[in-house]
């Protein structure tokens, strides 16, 4: 007897679908299809197209051109491509239709990374199970606005509070987690899967419950593109005052906000800071300039090699002395990781920094992994770093 309702609802669906809302896009096409053997089949209906290719984050890169594979057109007008067996990972991909980059109209799941939107899919197993949403207690994700007197503006940040925080009275340690150049306060919860990594590691008892604060490292921005009164601007890789010391100098505004708005343990042993690329550079400099503030420091593919001596900021002065002082003050963990396929300059910057640390007998953990300057590495680094904190 439910037929009547179904038919009526189907009428509503058809109406909304065809007449006023293009909310579906050919979803009779299944793409991507993750096959039992962990190959993945992509499909795109396009009988009129002449050439369709796919590029994906699993394809090895050589040189500066994005790798791609041609898709094959079947009799039905559906273009098809099937990968080799893929390792567990969160992958992103896009199509190119007659030379124009395209998202997959059959896949509603996509992530914006700086200025472009790519579709995503996940192959389960191994480390990728940390990137999945699992049936575990979930923390809360909030977008908050804080006052940054140092930047003369209100700015937006993302805060993760672990399961149990909202209804409890307990105080928690804090990890400040910084993004790379071109990123914003949404980068770590998008491509970085930080929420899932934290939820899962905490549920498994591998990480202490902690607050994770993900600020926006571009002081010229109030918020991620589209989220401030600047409107739907084109996301920019390089913004004014990026890496000139201003973010580090005004980081105190973020800490003040967090420590007065959240139940935090306000001590060095309960504060960690980490970041990727530019965020690793920020991390190194914040930990130098805020003495005795952080016991845990994480540098993920840190852009140590890109800082110029020509930028004048007190933040970047007397770094050798500050490093010496940081070493003398002591800390629990200075953790560095980088892909052996990263840029020469970044690799050299990290090597120079380690030599400086070695020179003063400063202890650190250094991991050189495969891969390069990629989210695949940064997710792995976060997954390894977080269990080491606040122990």
């Amino acid at each position: 007897m439910k037929t009547t309702l179904s038919l009526i609802l189907f009428g509503l669906l058809s109406y909304a679908l065809h007449a006023q809302q293009d909310i579906f896009a050919r979803n009779e096409i299944i793409s991507p299809e993750i096959n039992a053997d962990h190959t993945v089949t992509f499909r795109l209906f396009g009988p009129e197209a002449s050439e369709v290719t796919i590029t994906g984050s699993w394809m090895p890169r050589e040189g500066f051109s994005a790798p791609y594979k041609e898709m094959q057109k079947g009799d039905s007008g559906v273009w098809v491509y099937t990968t080799k067996v893929l390792e567990p990972e969160l992958y992103r991909y896009s199509f190119s239709v007659d030379g124009i980059r395209n998202t997959d109209p059959s896949n509603a799941h996509a992530i914006r990374d700086v200025g472009s939107i790519s579709n995503i899919f996940l192959i389960e197993g191994g480390i990728a199970d940390l990137y999945k949403v699992n049936d575990v207690p979930h923390g809360t994700v909030a977008f908050r606005w804080y006052d940054s007197p140092g930047n003369h503006k209100k700015r937006r940040l993302t805060v993760y509070t672990p399961a149990g925080y909202e209804n409890g009275k307990k105080k928690y340690p804090v990890l400040y987690l910084l993004h790379g150049i071109g990123g914003d306060e949404e980068a770590w919860i998008g491509s970085g899967r930080a929420i899932q990594i934290l939820d899962n590691l905490i549920a498994q008892g591998k990480a202490k419950p902690m607050i994770v604060v993900m600020p926006n490292g571009n002081v010229a921005q109030k918020a991620a593109p589209g989220m401030s009164s600047d409107g739907f601007v084109v996301p920019s890789f390089r913004l004014p005052n990026t890496m000139d010391g201003t973010f580090e100098a005004t980081f105190i505004d973020i800490m003040n906000f967090v420590e007065s708005n959240y139940r935090t343990i306000k001590s060095k042993k309960s504060r960690a800071i980490a970041g990727l690329s530019m965020g690793g550079f920020h991390t190194a400099n914040i930990s130098l300039n805020y003495p005795n503030t952080f016991d845990y420091i994480g540098l993920f593919s840190s852009a140590l090699g890109v800082q110029s001596n020509n930028v004048s900021s007190p933040i970047y002065e007397n770094r050798d002395e500050k490093l010496q002082q940081q070493n003398e003050n002591g800390f629990k963990l200075y953790w560095m990781a980088i892909g052996n396929g990263d840029m020469e300059r970044i690799l050299k910057g990290n090597q120079d920094f380690r030599e400086k640390m070695d020179g003063i007998g400063m202890k650190y953990v250094y991991k050189e992994t495969d891969g390069g300057h990629t989210w695949e590495n940064w997710r792995k680094y976060l997954s390894e770093f977080v269990p080491l904190l606040f122990k």
Copy 2:
């Protein structure tokens, strides 16, 4: 002397751009470009494409086919289309390249609506200024998980708390804001611009500061597609147990969560409920089945005509008696709005319901607007409804 840093950063940019992260997509092409006269120019670089069209929410619809316009290919291989002068509004659009639906690779701003992703842009002025992020005090947006014993699962919802809530002690009224079929707990903050509408109306003194709770009306789901352990599923228009009374019956779980986790005023005069389409149907039925709970009821293009008598649930029984009781109990505002271009069945359902209300002398506000079953209307209805609450 900043040249060195710029060059180094440019190196980093180029590397990340070309070698390991496709984070930019031809952003030398400006699209969309909102011209001074409020015409809008779209551009797409595609020298190899044979036919490129654009469809957008400003194009009038006739019948069941999506309207579209052909784009013109210039000598440079850039396809171009310029609209007529557009009224202030948040618009969405997509391209079609040789028959395949495409997002605009030059526009990083997009919204998922059920199963598809469309690009967006905004023409300022008039009501659209409520949809913009303006330099006003911003509320907080949080994704929370609540326990729904009635559904035997934890479920995700979105909560807006107004500026001042987080640091204050004050108690606030609550608006429960429900989505339509195919939507989820992200619909009102995506296409609905609810955050911006609330921030702006509150800042202008036109609305009382209030908490807005946006739950997921599909009880088969724990969370929006991709946000639960169901993984990156294809979003579905119709899910099991949708509109069978279960959401309404288990709405108590949401209220219990909100009233025990937020500083709410726990009284009828400080509770409002509203919803669009299926959410309007849910709203009507929740207000019938939770007597003396809500003083403010908002039905936006309510799907009153789609409910079948064949679904058996105590929620849908004795509705005439319940309506009589609701009228006798009293309320401050019963507000209904619908577009005159909506489906016949929906229009008739609303008319039948109004006749029933008229029959028992029940007061309501009824607005028939232009347009149909669209987000354009629902944003407008929310913008008109919210200032009427808690006065």
